[in-house]
């Protein structure tokens, strides 16, 4: 069982090749001892009879073809789990780095997880109030959903995520247990510190479990970090009955790491050099959100990704959008106008929203109101295009009204304070107030009955 192999036959980037192995299995974890003192871990990614290709998590520095002892662990990548993980900080492969010692838990889980059977899923229906109008009103986050933030470098996605954590934790169902699992892949130290501080300030830090793989940590480790984080999240949600919000940042680093490893394995690249299995890899992460029938907990995912060159058609955001249940897109132009949060309304979407809002959840007019705001804001874009050609003065009166609406909408509805926590009622009423800038006839997406109830009565009616 515990045979030690001395030496390696090949080292190439993060990959090493070991020959003559016996009884190794695919996806098995191996332990290395380099020079008798440095410990490293790796994973078998390819097997050909007795030749194993191994990915080394901590990088292959200091390893030579002769100084390495390798031992097969006999199990796939596992992580120790325990309810005590909350409040703790781990590295990218689940080893504590906060100096508080090991977990002392013998309970281990395979990080690869298993696909959740659709017949045992519960369709997510409860919304999470984030207190942010653009999200609550137009792209409502649902418990058990996976809703990524598509951002760009320099945009305040971290601030937005921190605000969501802070305000969602103070939600209406305070008797239920809420916790955050934070997985960082290749992030800057400043970002990790920002989140740590934000969690402390909002008083949730003893309900946060952090997995940190920094920008200068080994690349291969990043491939495991989200899996470790999600395994812990699933454990806390489905075995400890907690409602877990998972924040994964930055998915782009994860994909980059995959491309790097794939290319050093000499695999055939598909789009932009990413491996052909990028979609499947993403899917195995993102699909680990949801609610299991009979369990009291849920896993909600809020992955953050930075779109290379703000390009939403880049394979990373593109494939993500096809898997996740919507997306929140941040916009550099709005950010430039100091609108916070700079959420670009039109491409943002929550697929699960339709079943989690309306009568019995938020308010009966929510869906129609949201559709109308989307549709009106789309018209604002058309009016602005026209204005840029023929000048604002030449616009028809109705187009001018749209311009006014657009300006107010961006300033007051999308924009809000970083600590401002709006109720659903405030958000919905604000929506109606803004719509009242437009004549009633323009409201073609709302049931006439609802218009009668909610359309604000103005003193100067008909003006």
């Amino acid at each position: 069982m515990a045979i030690e192999y001395l030496g390696l036959s090949n080292i190439n980037g993060p990959l090493v090749v070991l020959e003559g192995v016996q009884e190794a299995f695919f996806d098995e974890i191996v332990e290395f001892v380099v020079d008798g003192n440095i410990k490293k871990m790796g994973r078998i990614v390819e097997l050909n009879e007795d030749k194993a290709v191994i990915q080394v998590f901590e990088g292959t520095e200091n390893m030579s073809l002769t100084n390495t002892h390798t031992r097969l662990s006999g199990h796939p990548m596992e992580v120790a789990v325990s309810p005590d993980m909350l409040g703790r900080t781990f590295n990218g492969i689940g080893i504590p780095i906060d100096g508080l010692g090991s977990l002392g838990s013998a309970d281990k889980r395979d990080v690869n997880g298993l696909p959740l059977n659709p017949v045992r899923r519960e369709y997510p229906r409860n919304y999470i109030r984030t207190g942010i109008s653009a999200i609550d009103g137009l792209t409502t986050l649902i418990r058990g959903q996976k809703l990524p933030i598509f951002s760009g470098n320099g945009l305040p996605h971290d601030q937005l995520a921190a605000q969501i954590v802070k305000q969602a934790s103070l939600g209406d169902n305070s008797d239920e247990q809420f916790a955050v699992v934070f997985g960082a892949m290749g992030v800057k130290h400043d970002v990790a510190d920002y989140f740590r501080k934000a969690f402390e300030e909002s008083g949730v830090s003893d309900h946060v479990c952090m997995f940190l793989n920094m920008a200068n940590d080994p690349v291969v480790e990043r491939l495991i970090t989200p899996k470790v984080a999600l395994t812990v999240a699933e454990y806390l949600a489905f075995e400890c009955n907690m409602h877990i919000l998972v924040i994964l940042t930055d998915m782009t680093s994860f994909a980059e790491a995959m491309r790097e490893v794939s290319s050093s394995r000499g695999e055939i690249p598909s789009r932009k050099g990413y491996p052909g299995y990028l979609y499947s890899e993403f899917a195995t992460l993102y699909e680990r959100a949801g609610i299991v029938e009979g369990a009291n907990g849920s896993v909600t995912q809020l992955p953050i990704l930075t779109m290379p060159n703000d390009d939403i058609t880049h394979p990373i955001p593109d494939l993500t959008g096809y898997i996740t249940e919507g997306q929140i897109v941040l916009d550099r132009n709005l950010h430039g106008q100091s609108v916070y949060p700079p959420i670009s309304i039109l491409p943002s979407l929550s697929r699960l929203m339709k079943d989690g809002i309306g009568k019995g959840y938020t308010r009966e007019d929510h869906q129609d109101l949201a559709n109308q705001l989307f549709s009106a804001y789309a018209k604002v874009g058309e009016a602005r295009n026209l204005a840029s050609v023929i000048g604002e003065d030449e616009l028809s009166p109705i187009d001018k009204q749209y311009l006014k609406f657009g300006e107010e909408f961006e300033k007051r509805y999308v924009g809000q304070g970083p600590a401002e926590n709006r109720t659903i009622k405030q958000t919905l009423d604000l929506g109606w107030e803004l719509l009242s800038l437009l004549p009633k006839e323009e409201l073609d997406r709302i049931d006439t009955k609802l218009i009668e109830i909610y359309y604000p009565k103005k003193e100067n009616e008909g003006a």
Binding site: P76, L116, G294
Partner: protein, 590 residues
């Protein structure tokens, strides 16, 4: 007795495994891999190397473990129990997997495709001395409240019935009929058949398409109809409503059977279909929609090889029901995921990539898939159809990518979803200028006989208005709408009525979610009547602002909500309202 071929694992690379030496395996043969008996399929043979794709997660496999050939190609079990059920990509029922393995899908689960214990009320339709051949119905079983399952003799059987069981309760494994074949040997037939998924089931011949698949969706039925036995593609970037459109068709189409293939899509979506379809009632039969539906769920996190197979599994089930004489519609959501599965496996096999990394055989696989659709005369002389509606998820929403382009070559209906329509929440976001249907001329006769002789003419007139709108919008974008002459302003207004009042359809509104052909026609009639009367007014020199002040345009837009589906006579009053509007305008301004 043939001895089973056995090989040993040599190499493992993701879902692909290699065996060394001569194994004697056959192409496309189903194999069991390793101690856990994972299901796999032979995909390439070489003098000294056999390549197998494994339909389950391969972590934990070791070189040296045994691979056992089953002697048969990967096939599906065909018998009562398929409907009102949900399967994974290789026809394993997810409910049984959940019962035996819990909420998460573990590996190497061995469950029967269909319930072999359940007793079905069976009416045996042949008796001793009858001559039967492939396709002959030997028994009828009420499978669900909506569907009578006709058990047929497998296509390769021809002979004389020497004994037949009486009516009664049988399991799908019980022998019902014994046949003496022409060579004198005897064969026992039960309700069960097996059929390899990659081989089309035989038919007598193909009929031309001449009957529409009525979906209750105005933009489809009126503007871009699909025939029964036809093929359609719905391409669109994420969030443009591919899945919603598929759901709407699956709910309301006038097919007898719906096969919904969730290929590499979201788990929550499959759960939603399962929940929703169990509650929703089929407007035609009054039974739950699940009674006519089968779901094939291979969500995006299930193994990639099974994703590739799921499309064929669904198709084979569809062909089986077609052979009974039913009209079957397949929703394949999404064929891009299937194409990507091909690409992923091709990459693992280190094949030479063609365009965008897709294998060169992408086009031939797609054409073979879509060509299995059609309105057919079945082997038993009946008439059944398989219609395929495939969603396409183009990379970056760009229709010039290989999957969309190749699909376009093999389908006759193209329902292009548009991002800007989706952004303004105009649903269904099918763009009327990029979409087309080649079936329109084939179906003109049907529309004329079953709806109205004017139908196609009205449809074309509406399309013409929309096309005029689009060219006028070019001008408006440059100089604003105010400078247009009033007759052109009217075109813009009528086009708006068509877009909002006709093309846009609310899937969540009880009256608007599914609309009969009669209502669709009458709505067109009202809109075009409004146009006719308004045009007369404009010709008299009435400015558009006067016409708009009346609110009649808004009223016609709201027809879709205001006229309930069970009271279509209300639509006749709209013409009177339009006449009144006409008279009033003349009176005031004339």
């Amino acid at each position: 007795m043939e001895t089973k071929n056995i090989g040993k694992i040599y190499g493992i690379n993701g879902p692909v495994i290699y065996l060394k030496g001569k194994t004697g395996f056959k192409m496309s043969e189903m194999v069991y891999v390793g101690r856990e008996r994972l299901v796999g399929e032979v995909i390439s043979l070489d003098k000294d190397m056999t390549t197998i794709q494994v339909y389950e997660e391969t972590s934990g496999l070791k070189p040296g473990e045994q691979v056992e050939a089953t002697g048969a190609a990967v096939s599906v079990t065909l018998a009562p129990g398929i409907l009102n059920n949900i399967f994974d990509g290789i026809e394993r029922p997810l409910e049984s997997i959940a019962v035996s393995g819990g909420a998460f899908i573990t590996r190497g689960v061995s469950v029967d495709s269909l319930d072999t214990e359940k007793l079905w009320d069976t009416h045996v339709t042949v008796s001793e001395g009858d001559i039967i051949h492939g396709g002959t119905v030997i028994a009828e079983v009420p499978e669900t409240r909506a569907i009578l399952h006709k058990c047929m003799a497998p296509p390769d059987v021809e002979g004389v019935v020497v004994s037949a069981a009486g009516d009664g309760q049988y399991t799908i494994k019980d022998t019902l009929v014994t046949v003496e074949l022409s060579d004198g040997s005897r064969r026992e037939l039960s309700m069960t058949q097996h059929w390899p998924i990659r081989v089309p089931r035989p038919v007598h011949h193909r009929y031309p398409a001449n009957e529409p698949l009525v979906t209750g969706q105005r933009i489809l039925d009126t503007m871009f109809p699909i025939a029964k036995g036809g093929t359609a593609a719905i391409p669109g970037g994420f969030g443009t409503g591919k899945t919603m459109t598929q759901h709407q068709i699956a709910k309301w189409a006038d097919a007898d059977i719906i096969i919904y293939i969730g290929c590499g899509e979201r788990g929550n979506e499959m759960t939603q279909v399962l929940e929703e379809f169990s509650e929703l009632v089929d407007p035609r039969s009054g039974n739950p929609l699940m009674d006519r539906t089968t779901l094939i769920a291979n969500t995006s996190n299930m193994p990639v090889a099974a994703r590739e197979a799921s499309i064929y599994t669904g198709l084979t089930l569809a062909e089986y029901y077609r052979d009974m004489g039913y009209d079957v519609a397949i929703m394949a959501d999404s064929t891009s995921r299937w194409a990507e599965a091909l690409r992923e496996l091709s990459g693992r096999l280190e094949e030479m990539p063609a365009e965008e990394g897709f294998p060169a055989y992408l086009a031939s696989r797609l054409s073979a898939f879509y060509e299995r659709a059609g309105m057919m005369q079945t082997l038993n002389g009946g008439k059944g159809s398989v219609s395929i509606i495939g969603a396409v998820s183009p990379q970056g929403g760009d229709f010039s990518e290989p999957v969309t382009q190749n699909t376009k070559r093999f389908v006759r209906c193209f329902w292009g979803l548009d991002k800007s329509l989706a952004y303004s929440r105009h649903f269904p976001a099918i763009h009327w200028l990029t979409s087309y249907s080649e079936y329109l001329p084939d179906l003109a006769g049907w529309y004329s006989d079953h709806v109205s002789p004017k139908f196609v003419d009205y449809r074309n007139r509406m399309m013409a208005i929309l096309n005029q709108e689009s060219s006028l919008m070019e001008i408006v974008k440059l100089i604003g709408g105010d400078v247009l002459p009033d007759d052109q302003k009217l075109i813009l207004e009528i086009a708006k009525v068509i877009r909002l009042g006709f093309l846009q359809q609310n899937a969540f509104h009880k009256d608007d979610t599914c609309v009969s052909m009669e209502k669709q026609f009458k709505m067109m009639d009202v809109i075009l009547y409004l146009y006719k009367r308004a045009r007369k007014l404009v010709a008299m020199g009435m400015p558009m602002s006067v016409l708009k002040a009346e609110g009649i345009f808004e009223k016609v837009i709201a027809v879709k909500y205001d006229v309930p589906n069970d009271n279509l006579t209300m639509l006749d009053f709209y013409k009177k309202d339009i006449d009144e509007f006409y008279d009033r305008v003349i009176e005031k301004n004339g």
